[in-house]
Amino acid sequence: MKLYLKYFSIHLRSAMEYKSSFFMTVLGQFLMSFTGFLSVWFLMDRFHEVEGFTFSEILLCYSVVLLGSSIAECFFRGFDRFPQMIGNGEFDRILTRPRNEIFQVLASKMEFTRIGRFLQALLVICYAIPTSGVIWNAENILTLIFMILGAFGVFSALYILYACFSFFTIEGLEFMNIFTNGGQEFGQYPFSVYGKWILRFFTFVVPLALCQYYPLLALLGREGSVFYRILPLCSLLFFLPVLIFWKFGVKHYKSTGS
């Protein structure tokens, strides 16, 4: 952890070498995800309710997913860049250092500009928390924290999964964006609004619904079971197959010429 902070400071200093670029990108990020917010807002302005969820309730859901994904993007960006790392031999270097590879890839890049997105998510959640009509007792606060943590975990695992594929092929990784960007876009609304199949997909394949739809029901008092509240933690089990896949990938790592 101490070492991670060292990396953190190096990246921060690197980012500060290009100050104006940094702030422009932060602003860009903020505006970009703001359009997502606007689309939810316009839609809800017209229909008031989607599948029984009100505007504030949907915003709660939206901000949880956005918070999780923006933190994951900020810290797990190294995995997004992983195909290039393999291409330019950076991963060779990582393997010659006496530390865990996942940790080093994780620390190799931090995308501070995602703070723009993060800030926006924070604003939205600050609006949604008082207006959603949820009674904020300790139980519910804990559930909300679990939800954000879970979303962060699932998106992080998705990034690692994305990186794993590049051990075997450098091309055609675009399809992974269905899960990462798709998860972000779909996650704006509770997954149930898209129908049974999408909900099932995001429950059993990419367990994003476990930290969004189900605990939301518990928050809103529509489901009483404690089980719904701890589901976000179960979503972290998603890491298990991903990490096994990663180990398998490292063993089959081919490196590049020269």
Binding site: I10, R93, L95, N100
Partner: protein, 324 residues
Amino acid sequence: MIAVKHVRKTFQVARRDAGFRAAVKTLLHKQYDTVEALKDISFTIDDGEMVGYIGPNGAGKSSTIKILSGILTPDSGECLVNEKTPWKERISHVAQIGVVFGQRSQLWWDVPVIDSFELIRDIYKTPEAVYRKNLDELTQMLQLSQILKTPTRQLSLGQRMRCEIAASLLHDPKVLFLDEPTIGLDAVSKIAVREFIKELNRKKGTTVILTTHDMQDIEALTSRILLIGKGQILLDGSLSQLKETYSDQKQLTVAYSGSAPALCPGMTVSSAQPGQLVLSVDPKVMSISKAISYLSEHAEITDLSVSGASTEEIVVQLYKEFRI
């Protein structure tokens, strides 16, 4: 001590004909060729040795280095570096080695070199005292004091390479792998790097394994050569031994005025400029003294020198002989 036994490594290489149609075809059905990068490699290197690992492009040099440094897992075979198998005990293994890739940087691009060094110290968990001592030594030997505070991106290639080498030695490695350390460097930097490596080996007894295409590196640094070609070790011996067996040819550098001398059997031109000729003379056909007297009869010689074949030529000859 490095012991490599029957190491084999193959790669799957995607194959495709040129053209759009072929591209579409590959989309549906990919064809792979299996390339044997390393067929059956065995050798041992003792502590404190300096070994030059040579071979043409694509012979398997880098693959071997990558296996020894824990980056690649071979298909079969055994390999022990300081009693550890690199790909099985990667973390404890790499803590004891240093690797310099001539074409790739290990320093962080946008921060001063010293920041990179400190991060490397933390990655390797080097004790502060050891780090201080090594840093002082390396700074002095590689003349880094002026450039430690410069961001890496603003360094010249020569400066950067000196920093790279320093960076891979901060943790006192027992073995140092150098993959083309002098590539692209100017003469002064090259000599500085070579001198330093020699010094390091002498002072600390660090085992050095060097791959290079620059034969002067080999000549200046290593006494032992491993020649690899087509994935096999073709030759393992000392440089002087090699020179004896593979080259009895002598080189004559002749400066002349007037017209160029005509050649006789046993002489071949290595290079020619107006007023100067470099000839290879095969002593089996014509003795050196005869060659000299022949030349002085046929041309107005102003200067003449005799030398043994250069390492470069020996290597070319070796490559030819082994058809690699």
